[in-house]
Amino acid sequence: MELTRHPELPQEYLDRLEAVQPKNLPPELDLFDEQTATRGRRLNKAAYSLKDAEQRELFARDEDAWMDQFGLTDEEKDLMRRRDWIGLWRNGMTIYVMVKLSGVTGTALPEIGKQMRESGGGHG
């Protein structure tokens, strides 16, 4: 985003503002920020719900009914059904809620990691 260089704004402030957002990262070191958090709103809300034992029971009983609560898109539901961890990550799901899915799906974190590593490439 091109910042406005208003005459009131000292360079020192503009430098500080510029420095807040990490830059020049390789795509495989993507951040959880405006873009990702915006993209991942539905998915993150869904996975976060699994903190609650009742939601975990619903997930186990009827995964589609569980998903329907969060207005997930068809693509998001598909990623979820396929346990496509890197796909979920690329669609904005943070690792901090993804681990809550690891319990209900019986997928240990190293397995999630294995799939992410083997997917190769950068940001989709």
């Binding site: 420095a19 990490p22 920020d33 609650d52 974190l109 190293p110 990691g113 992410m116």
Partner: protein
């Protein structure tokens, strides 16, 4: 008046919980002794030091705070802190004892110092607190938790994050808060998280031991140099999720510059660089 009598930097991770909960035999296995051995040393050091309170600077992992309202800095002012259910059922620990009175004082002092923290009368703590804490402050059986805590959570998850320099200054402000507290309490400040780990994307599992050891060296000898690092540096050096090390930097900011590193242990294993470092004040 209260005093800062020591500091601890310690990794936090669900793996540490699994191994702790698996019992003594697993903890003392060849695989995990390099992690758990040094924690026993710290437990012993802490027993000699006898702190009255621990201020624990940590980060929550979407177990108390969520993206509907994610606080940059949040401070506990509760008398007890229950253990959060992180998605697998809560670990069977009793709630941690707190000190609401000290918490409120710290809140006022931080606000006086222009750190406008979120104030929490209720707070469930997750592995950011209770993966390292049982190793140094919990007796199985009737003993339970020994030292009341004041938790201070830092946003290291949702960018924009408070800068490393800001976290250092938070530690300095925390020091003033402790020194101005009228009760005669010895306080140890704990910072948890890191060291290197990458839990997302094709570089999942990347650990960088050289950087981790350099970080611990700088934290001991030249901590202000770490305040010049940007998040893009920290992410490239240690991984996206390794930025939790700013919790250590805040801890270090609460100590006098000449605090001496005592226990220094590091173990790179599987997907984590596990670090542990204690700081003594006034030669203790």
């Amino acid at each position: 008046m209260a005093r800062v009598i020591g500091g601890i930097g310690a990794s936090h991770a669900p793996s540490m919980e699994h191994i702790y909960d698996a019992g003594d035999e697993v903890r003392r296995s060849d695989e995990w002794e390099p992690l758990f051995g040094p924690f026993s040393e710290v437990a012993k050091w802490l027993e000699e030091l006898q702190p009255d309170r621990l201020v624990v600077i940590y980060n929550d992992h979407m177990d108390e705070f969520f993206l509907n309202a994610y606080p940059t800095f949040a401070l506990g002012v509760a008398e007890t802190y229950p253990v959060a259910d992180e998605g697998f059922g809560a670990r069977p620990f009793p709630p941690l004892p707190g000190d609401a009175k000290l918490g409120w004082h710290v809140a006022r002092s931080l606000v006086a110092d222009e750190f406008d923290i979120t104030i929490c009368q209720e707070l469930e703590v997750d592995h950011g607190v209770i993966s390292p804490l049982p190793m140094v402050d919990f007796s199985e059986g009737d003993g339970g938790w020994k030292i009341p805590i004041v938790p201070l959570a830092v946003n290291v998850i949702l960018h924009p994050l408070p800068s490393p320099l800001r976290c250092w200054k938070l530690g300095q402000a925390l020091r003033r808060a402790i020194l101005s507290y009228p009760e005669d309490l010895g306080v140890v400040v704990v910072g948890t998280g890191g060291l290197s780990h990458q839990l997302t994307g094709p570089q999942f599992g990347r650990v960088t031991p050289d950087w981790d050891q350099e970080f611990m060296r700088l934290l001991a000898d030249d901590p202000e140099r770490l305040t010049t690092y940007k998040y893009e540096d920290l992410i490239k050096l240690g991984g996206t999720e390794s930025v939790e090390v700013v919790n250590w930097l805040a801890m270090r900011g609460s100590l006098p510059p000449d605090a001496k590193a005592v226990v220094q242990a590091y173990y790179a294993h599987r997907i984590m660089g596990y670090g542990l470092q204690t700081f003594a004040v006034d030669g203790r």
